[in-house]
Point group: C2
Chain length 258, copies 2
């Protein structure tokens, strides 16, 4: 009755990594995330993926700015006063931006870093340990991911894939989800071209943004409100490789919606 070949049974587990303390500049993320992994699962297995949110990475790397120290430009002041925004925030977002996609109706959507598109260049006010301070995105989140990967490999013997995520809004859809802004140790794009589907026919060219799917999956456990800034994903079979999250950025000339 069943015309399909039996597919292997597969399962993925995700563990929230609890107990990571408030992060201060200079904190040893590798040690703190490693402790949380040990507490949650006893250690790493081959093929594990460790997902950490941008916030703890930015804090550990000292990417923190006191808003009162920022001198807003006329452009930032005009925009902020028109829309009830904070001029220092707008100024910082403009300084971080490599491109302004939209600056209208109180919304400032920019590309920054390797081309990540986000509101206000991903600058974040919430979850701050100190009022009046904001976090900027890591200078190079792929490097941040690599460093964490190396620290965890040194401790546990197995090198996990590592993804750094942030939570962004999307065009066309309400609500935010998590995206990969940094990655190490896995191919962030999985190209299905040339494979066959379950009926033996060759698939149309499909490329899956594996690192973004992992980011969104981990986001299910990264409650913003409950101090869970890291997640361990176990049992997902990814392709090893040296691609980085910059490879997830669509080149401008292939983008219909800028």
């Amino acid at each position: 009755m069943n015309a399909e070949p039996a597919a292997p049974r597969r399962a993925v587990q995700m563990f929230a990594l609890a107990g990571i303390p408030a992060i201060e500049p200079g904190a040893d993320l590798g040690a703190l995330v490693g402790d949380a992994i040990e507490a949650a699962t006893g250690g790493l297995c081959a093929g594990d993926v460790v997902v950490v949110c941008q916030k703890i990475v930015s804090k550990a790397e000292g990417r923190i700015v006191r808003l009162d120290d920022v001198e807003p430009s006329a452009r930032a002041r005009d925009f902020a006063s028109s829309f009830g925004k904070q001029a220092q925030m707008i100024e910082l977002a403009l300084r971080e931006a490599t491109e302004v996609l939209r600056m209208q109706g109180g919304h400032l959507i920019t590309a920054s870093g390797k081309g990540v598109v986000a509101a206000n260049s991903g600058i974040d006010r919430s979850n701050q340990t100190r009022p009046g301070y904001v976090t900027l995105l890591p200078l190079d989140a792929d490097r941040s991911a690599s460093l964490l990967r190396e620290a965890l490999a040194a401790r546990f013997g197995a090198a996990p894939a590592v993804i750094v995520t942030d939570t962004f809004g999307r065009p066309w859809r309400l609500g935010q989800i998590d995206f990969a802004i940094g990655a190490a140790g896995l191919r962030v794009l999985d190209d299905h071209a040339g494979r066959s589907d379950w009926s033996g026919r060759e698939l149309e060219h499909t490329v899956i943004a594996v690192a973004d799917q992992l980011a969104a999956a981990a986001g299910l456990l990264m409650g913003k409100a409950d101090g869970l800034p890291a997640v361990l994903v176990r049992g997902y079979s990814y392709a090893a490789g040296s691609e980085d999250a910059g490879d997830l950025v669509r080149p401008r000339d292939q983008d219909l919606f800028r």
Copy 2:
């Protein structure tokens, strides 16, 4: 040393639901998905989420069209011949569309149904059991999700949340991920407004697209190439509610990128 309150340890499991046969129009999805759940995990637990891909829903509902039966309009023929596309596909996509966002450079990006934005109105050629046929998106994927939820509740006693997903590209980023195009039994948006973060400060207004995060998570196991069209997510605590996937569609007047 640890300034944070201890967070509860949490874990989520995802099971690929193997053994679902090729779906023909009129197939009893509830029975087939139910069988796969029973084989994978023995049954449903309270709080389970069942995620199924659009393809099997569309096939079961008979949303299949033979391309040779489609008479292309002049507009479809012009566009198709300019860019080496199949005129019947373009014609079908235009018929399904409620809005054309872009029709340029060989790309046809439309909104269809309740406002889901996708290339070619989500019409899909791959994974077909019969060459020359394509699947359209379900007429009402929220209703499809509700019907599956009811069938599974009747069989197992516990009503799971159900999400129907499809795989789409995104602006600004390369690669595709899975999105929720239908949902039943859970609030698709989780509003963090007014909650406190881990330091006790009130969060900025954050709304998480929970159903899209679940769709992307399940996508990790829904290999296009290996006959796994459904996934069971266990251990994720969602809010029950009657919102549907249409609630994930950003209203036109709030959208900066159309």
